[in-house]
């Protein structure tokens, strides 16, 4: 497991133990990675974070077009594994959890413990939980810095 924010580690560790998730990626709505577990290559993380954030943004836009409040979680159920994309409020911002889980657990269980983890992260966040704003021009530097910290490169 690699985390950018140390206060995320404990809730994430507990979530992994309880849910039996295989891969976890926590990111901001702009795709900036906060923590990851199970990924071995930085390229995977970059791609998955970008795609996950894009999917959540797309469903958010779809909700806006449909004039509904929110479409909530996005779930892809495959034969061998499932993927849960779960946005959750974090102070003024939205964070996204991307969880890949196998057949040794269930979607319901992953959702229950994800909800608990999100609550614990909100409580553990220093101050108001407002993350430092990442400007567009800083984004690439920020992303590369995050990846170096997440993969020790």
């Amino acid at each position: 497991m690699r985390v950018l924010e140390p206060w995320v580690e404990s809730p994430l560790t507990e979530f992994l133990a309880e849910s039996s998730a295989q891969l976890v990626l926590l990111m901001t709505s702009s795709g900036q990675v906060i923590a990851q577990h199970g990924f071995t290559r930085s390229l995977d993380v970059m791609s998955v974070a970008a795609l996950g954030a894009a999917i959540v943004a797309s469903t958010g836009e779809l909700a806006r077009v449909m004039e509904t409040e929110s479409l909530g979680h996005v779930v892809h159920q495959g034969k061998g594994c499932g993927v849960l994309l779960a946005p959750f409020p974090m102070g003024q911002k939205t964070w996204i959890g991307l969880i890949v889980f196998g057949r040794d657990t269930t979607l319901g269980l992953v959702q229950v413990f994800f909800h608990t983890m999100a609550q614990q992260i909100r409580e553990a966040a220093p101050g108001s939980g407002k993350a430092e704003q990442v400007l567009a021009e800083q984004f690439e530097d920020e992303l590369n810095r995050s990846l170096r910290r997440l993969f020790g490169r």
Binding site: T105, T106, G108, L109, Q111, V112
Partner: protein, 122 residues
């Protein structure tokens, strides 16, 4: 189709027949594969989401343990706690019935109600 109940109404009717048993606080039909709520009736506002997820997980683990013991899949799972009982009735590999009761519940009647409900859903 005159007199036919929609699928969701059928589940709801089954749930109601279980919660009619004295002492039953809530009952739900659970998708045992995903651990999600299919239908639920609650008298006390129990959050069915975590209940469904954990009940499906418990059933799956006990199913594994009973398989190792050579006893086959569980027919009824009964957990007695300090303040009540939890009774689980697998209907099929995909469907699970869950009932939560207080300590005064008529457990024999509940077993019969769950068996009857399982037959109606299967």
């Amino acid at each position: 189709m005159v007199g036919a109940l929609s699928v969701s109404n059928r589940y709801q009717a089954v749930m109601t027949s279980i919660t009619r048993v004295g002492g039953v606080r809530s009952a739900c039909v659970v998708d045992a594969v995903d651990g999600l709520v299919v239908a639920e009736v609650s008298r006390v506002g129990t959050d069915p989401g975590p209940l469904a997820a954990l009940a499906a997980n418990l059933t799956r683990k006990l199913d594994g343990a009973l398989g190792l013991a050579g006893h086959g899949p569980p027919r009824v799972i009964h957990v007695e706690a300090e303040l009540g009982h939890l009774m689980l009735k697998p209907v099929s590999p995909e469907i699970l019935l869950v009932a939560i009761t207080d300590t005064e519940a008529n457990l024999g009647l509940l077993r019969l109600a769950l068996a009857d409900a399982a037959e109606r859903l299967d």
